[in-house]
Symmetry: C2
């Protein structure tokens, strides 16, 4: 292979538009026209150019193109970790939608969510190698770190929060939480306990908790103190150990599936049967939820749709369209499995 290196004529720089033009006996502009599919180029000329392209293995130089046009055909995505199921699926939705529109994706993940890291990441993205940015962060992170949004190019948030001056997209947290709580109440449970996510001033966890509380109050039910978790199965487990001691607990709404998983493990350990003694509902419908023990009743978020909508709005913004600021909330579906049963 080193001989390969020595005999080969020094990586013959890739063919340029002009190389193709010369071979095809036309001008560079005509090659450009063929490349961009547009314009009227005589059929035989086009054929000749295409043949030359094939011969030379020509590929348009995207850097030159971007330089000339000012467009990158690329979307930046800023994400926290890929630990949690939700954001990863949003990413998948975003990726599919972007690919469908012929945009590529520039992914930046933030290892350590410090102000410095986030700012640096946004700087990176803002350095004009992308046409727009999708930010998958929660509001509290944005507030705590005093994040300054890019100004040069459009950006959109995937977050359940309502912003005065920005467009955001997410699943409808309140509607989802209501589905869960209402389901349990309809099964006859006197009230519903809640294992909450890490509540900050504004985030999905607080939205879910608030909706849970509101619905119980509206129905005139007692509102038990919520148990605080941090989205992890481990925190759900700890919450479960506390709830399992209280025999009045017959229905629990966990703010996500992983906490529901930990919760059920604790209930099992304490000998409280699910769903016979305690009904459990989760949130997210992660792929494994159907195979928890017992299979988990949960609220399915349409992450793909969230990602797709984010891209759609962002591309419109890139094209100069102005959107009304505010949250676009997408509805969720209740998936009933075996972890919930009528109150006895």
């Amino acid at each position: 292979m080193s001989s390969d290196r020595m005999t080969r004529p020094q990586a013959p720089r890739p063919a340029s538009m002009l190389d193709v033009a010369r071979l095809a006996g036309v001008s560079g502009q005509t090659v450009s026209r063929v490349t961009n599919g547009s314009e009227a180029v005589a059929a035989d000329t086009r054929e000749r150019v295409l043949a030359a392209m094939r011969t030379l293995g020509y590929r348009p130089n995207s850097a030159a193109r971007a330089l000339k046009s000012g467009r990158f055909q690329s979307i930046g995505v800023l994400m926290f970790s890929l630990e949690n199921f939700g954001p990863v699926h949003v990413l998948e939705g975003v990726s599919n939608a972007a690919t469908a529109r012929d945009y590529s994706l520039d992914l930046v993940t933030i290892g350590d969510p410090s102000t410095g890291e986030i700012t640096k990441a946004l700087e990176r993205l803002d350095q004009e190698r992308v046409d727009g940015i999708v930010i998958v962060l929660e509001a509290h992170q944005i507030l705590e770190h005093a994040i300054r949004f890019p100004t040069r190019i459009p950006s959109i948030l995937v977050d359940s929060q309502q912003y005065d001056d920005r467009v955001s997209v997410n699943a409808d947290q309140a509607q989802g939480a209501e589905l869960a709580v209402r389901h349990l109440l309809e099964l006859g449970h006197p009230t519903v306990w809640h294992v909450s996510g890490p509540v900050h001033r504004m985030n999905a966890a607080s939205d879910r908790q608030l909706a849970w509380r509101r619905l119980l109050e509206a129905e005139g039910r007692p509102v038990p103190p919520p148990v605080l978790g941090d989205w992890s199965a481990e925190s759900g487990y700890r919450a479960g150990l506390r709830l399992a001691r209280d025999p009045s607990v017959t229905a629990v709404f966990a703010a996500n599936d992983q906490m529901a998983l930990g919760l059920m493990r604790a209930l099992h350990e304490c000998g409280r049967r699910v769903p016979d003694e305690v009904s459990v509902v989760g949130f997210d419908d992660s792929p494994d939820a159907a195979y928890y023990w017992p299979p988990l009743t949960t609220v399915r978020e349409d992450f793909r749709a969230v990602g797709a909508l984010a891209i759609e709005l962002l591309l419109e913004a890139i094209d100069g369209e102005r959107h009304e600021p505010g949250l676009r909330a997408l509805p969720n579906t209740l998936i009933v499995r075996d972890s919930t049963a009528p109150y006895r």
Copy 2:
């Protein structure tokens, strides 16, 4: 808002290097020198240039830079779905490593793994907006679809397979499977059953199955017929329903955590206690595995390290280094939890 558009002076095009140069009263080249941190520029000149940059909000144009230098400071990543835990974590490792080296990531996911889609995706990446490509695919997918690897730029595979002419990186499947099986044998079980992943001619599933078989044979144990799954919890569940009927089954090695999850659900349903009657080991150490019921003994893969090594090797290749073809296999760790117990 339309008035906004009309009054504003046409989105004053972003400041260029020359704008900065004019304001600072220097040449463009000096600005370039300051930007690139290199060279000897007099301290006061540098200050003046930096001040001008701040005033104008100057950002180097990455397209122009890429055009001039022929480098993109960007790595392409080709992935199948983001459904499975493993690949997503590899992506995270890749992302972290790339960021640390000041490379950005161009992510392409393949919705439908048809030949056309894969080829199209590789074309996209090969269109020279990246300096190198990380391909996260399994060998059988590559073979079945007769994938042609990019030739213009270096690429590296994340896959457990040994290729004659390419460099690949992955966790050591055989070593991991041996950890699992040996653990069960050391607990005194007469033999170990296996719920396999979707075996193709060459992939992680077949590697794990082969290692399982080899070790049993080496130890002179009977080799029960492996039960075929497809990585999903659902397939583990179906496998479990079959294994649960057979009282001679006391130890099962599932080829991933999700199948172990489904397996344990089936065992529960059939009244076979884990680990008292049946011990179960998984593979991957997904975040939830510690909170399965019971907590799952499993093999932890260091996905981050895999991603990091892939980036390291790829960057070296970009810098012109030639690597010996072959597989770099990274060792795994056995995590013992409550789903395994001594044979009684």
